[in-house]
Symmetry: C2
Subunit: 294 residues, 2 copies
């Protein structure tokens, strides 16, 4: 990773972390529910989605202030989905990022409610944000709810669970990933381009980039599950095999998965170039996502 990118990631991550805490504290009262919301919000993470959103908006010349509510709302949705996915009835994970999961630290009921509350709060902060006008608020909730609901992330999680213990073809695997992780990553790019007032043509190129990015992210995730270092990833490696999930390396071999990813990297870089915006950070982010080790 270049110094420019690592500085950028650090700066934005701190900004997002601070703002996330402010939002939770401003909109909720002290107590167990707030504790559980803050616990998962403060458990860290790369803040990849909000950073992609901010980087895209900035590439189009938007001010970061304009992006904060939707960037944090997006991260709240990601966080709630992790809390619910970790539950005993779902993936039954005891640890995430080296810390006990919400239902282990608190209890299952609290974890369910903290997830529900974060999902609700994500809309609340967007529609109340003073930096956005009503048209912007509405567009962002339209896109975010579509990306995260029953035709997006939640449906992807459902299909992912139904495909466990099954061999599924590559096409179906991609379809699941596009919903489960792709749509939210894609939203980062769409929302950023929208807030940067991208023209229709540029918006469409960024959309292509966002789609490729989602697949890059997922293939690298699958590859890391085979080749990664458990300590860096913060969860045991080989868990996909244990869960008998279909993965890219399993369907294409490790080398085939790498090649597939490289072709998506080319797609993403080409789309970014066609959009003709200030590319440095975004281009480096694509590279980083395809070579990250955790």
């Amino acid at each position: 990773m270049t110094v420019i990118l690592s500085d950028y990631l650090l700066e934005k991550r701190q900004l997002i972390n601070e703002q996330l805490k402010h939002y939770v504290r401003d909109y909720t009262a002290p107590g167990r529910l707030q504790d559980a919301m803050l616990y998962s919000i403060e458990a860290g993470g790369k803040r990849l989605r909000p950073i992609l959103l901010i980087a895209t908006a900035e590439a189009f010349g938007a001010k970061v202030d304009k992006t904060m509510a939707v960037a944090c709302g997006l991260e709240m949705i990601h966080t709630y989905s992790l809390i619910h996915d970790d539950l005993p009835a779902m993936d039954n994970d005891d640890f995430r990022r080296g810390l006990p999961t919400s239902h282990r630290r608190f209890d299952e009921a609290t974890a369910i409610l903290a997830g529900d509350a974060l999902l609700t709060l994500s809309s609340e902060i967007i529609v109340n944000d003073q930096e956005l006008n009503d048209r912007e608020r509405v567009f962002l909730i339209q896109e975010l709810s579509r990306a995260s609901g029953a035709s997006g992330m939640v449906e992807g999680q459902m299909q992912d669970m139904l495909s466990e213990d099954k061999q599924i073809p590559l096409e179906e695997l991609e379809n699941i990933h596009k919903k489960k992780t792709g749509k939210l990553l894609n939203f980062s790019i769409i929302a950023g381009a929208f807030l940067g007032n991208a023209s229709n043509e540029k918006f469409d190129e960024m959309k292509k980039m966002g789609e490729a990015l989602g697949l890059i992210f997922q293939i690298q995730d699958d590859i890391l599950d085979v080749t990664g270092d458990a300590e860096k990833i913060g969860k045991p490696v080989g868990s996909d095999e244990g869960n008998r999930k279909s993965t890219y390396p399993q369907l294409l071999g490790l080398e085939g998965a790498q090649e597939q990813m490289e072709s998506y990297v080319e797609t993403a870089q080409a789309a970014l170039k066609n959009a003709g915006v200030n590319q440095t950070i975004l281009s480096e982010l694509i590279h980083y996502l395809s070579s990250r080790d955790h």
Copy 2:
């Protein structure tokens, strides 16, 4: 119940039931998640919240078309909260309205996801509704998210769980009910008055009415748990005592609880009169809520 009211309830319930199914089918793809969403949506219920919303809007002269998205979004939030509240980690209920609860009919993971998807869909249909302009969409999501999230319904559910097996004073009990059930009932009235373009003064009166209505609803719920007919209610009576929950009859005696409710009925009727709108249906609804047997 008068014939006028029972006809009104029947007509609106059918309208809401039809529209709810349309929304779920229009916004989601066939599959297990959609099945689970439809299962809970079709499990029935009085549709009290959306009917209150529509009745209020109509009392102020609004067209019913203008209310359908938010009325259905509100009912989706109520439905998701029941699905999650019924989970083993929460109230652990096997039946609701005489049917197996979502996690019994499907499984826990599906029930959690169906709840998440309904919560997300509630925003999605409101911000996409063609009958509403952006200002209206934004206002409705602002109020609905506040009423249903970590300073409203979800927080109320959290506090309700924390107060189990404890004797709590009346003030705390009311505070919990105001959040857990009151805010969403209150939203029905606020949203209806807003869509009917109520003046500030009338809006404030309707707000008072909504608050009283929430308490009426809860006291009657507690009373029915003592005096009610399990078959009519669709759940076992005496379950509050079994759960060792604090209730109005327990804190005030059955007669005291009745009197308390009557005083809220007077408050609600007075506020409605002060608002000076077409009162027939709303006034009958207040009466119905305070005397319902299920």
